[in-house]
Symmetry: C2
Subunit: 287 residues, 2 copies
Amino acid sequence: MEVIHSIADLRSRIREYRRKNDGSVGFVPTMGYLHEGHASLLRKARSQSGLVVLSIFVNPLQFGPGEDFERYPRNTERDLEVAEAAGADLVFMPSVSEMYPTPTRTTVAVSGLTSRLCGASRPGHFDGVATVVSKLFHIVQPDQAFFGLKDAQQVAVIQQMVQDLNLPVEIVPCPTLREQDGLAMSSRNVYLSDEERKQALVLSQALDKAKEFVLSRPNFNTAELESLVRKHIATAPLAVIDYAEVLAFPTLEPFENSTHTHSIILALAVKFGKTRLIDNVIIQLRK
Amino acid sequence: MEVIHSIADLRSRIREYRRKNDGSVGFVPTMGYLHEGHASLLRKARSQSGLVVLSIFVNPLQFGPGEDFERYPRNTERDLEVAEAAGADLVFMPSVSEMYPTPTRTTVAVSGLTSRLCGASRPGHFDGVATVVSKLFHIVQPDQAFFGLKDAQQVAVIQQMVQDLNLPVEIVPCPTLREQDGLAMSSRNVYLSDEERKQALVLSQALDKAKEFVLSRPNFNTAELESLVRKHIATAPLAVIDYAEVLAFPTLEPFENSTHTHSIILALAVKFGKTRLIDNVIIQLRK
């Protein structure tokens, strides 16, 4: 495994690989502080690709004012251990000035899909995501890129961008990994106090209840479903709901049970103190 | 020379070329109705590239309401003759539905550079240009792309986009070609009546005067220069000035003669009846 800091070096290493090999290039973009969820993306890439490229870059563009850019957790040493064990070949760790040598004037924006959920709570967030992911795609030029479905809206936004801009890359969405007790793995879990960590279980519990509710009631009512979820989350005194919404997936448009939507997402964002957790379940409807 | 209509076919032809050859891929994106200016871009590409790809696509996204998208001149038969004579290998002529199979939700926008000149007169125009050029770059994946400097602001916008988004392509700006009497070649010249065509010479004449003025007066005053240009254009009774501006190049920021700018652009947009012509001169200052 090789650690690379400059765009030019990364490009030349990938070019060299392509010249000598027929295998595909698989790419896992991350913000570091790697956990088992990231490792599962790398293992998936390893199983499908000849060359596995991991990027670690905490992208300032996707953090709003007052968000946790400065205190976002970082641990390079452990990240490199996780990356190596999971099969990464190249780890790209650019500085902010390598990625943004001059103030960027170009923005990639995806409309519609970004007006709800995290797009509504974090204005500009998905412009920052789409812009940096398109930069990374241009730098790495991967055949496949692997993204975790915990950030389901991010996956939907990136798939829309890839389709609209004809980016020559296949997006591979991968399942959310969870702790034994159900908490979705996230680099931000490290912020939680012991008590917050316990109470944070209401997220995955609420999603389980919601799934059971939907699958046992083909004519379920959206408002009723959202209310069930909100009530369960409210059993955690420290939980402050940012959103708890049912939408069609992957369009993220309002869901009416009468329409021909085949999949829905129930998406949650809940704050515990300063820490904002997200989780979701995507449910295929039997219609 | 091969004419290709589908993205998949074009990609497979280019992939095949790359597999068998070491030469580079040169790309000339156009809206068709090819003239000698386009031919000069193709010849330049021919001299530098192993495979020369021409695209002909009148992009609805870059036309505003009431602009000339519907009546933009088209002549496929002659275009193919010009393309073949100038050395194109592949001509990509997609339909609108091939390029935009679903309403596009993704926009590539370049700020700053697009607030003046044609960006001010044609809101949304450069978003349409940047978006379609990024799509075409993703489809063709050229090593070099060739653009005419008659659209100098377009060149500056695309260079900024390429730099900001790390697009793996080299932009090659090429000089404006002119008719014998000085009129800048443009597909839109065909709209001009005989009388308009005669009077349209004031554009290139004004640029010549401006260049002479600047080079003979190192401490020239911007307002004086703009006034000189406007006065000359006003000698054509049919001319209606949209803009006549002196800016730093390629930043397109306001130019103060005291600053350390090395190049300026004098850019013009002038209407004759319904036809809007643009022209410019880029002048290197001896500082």
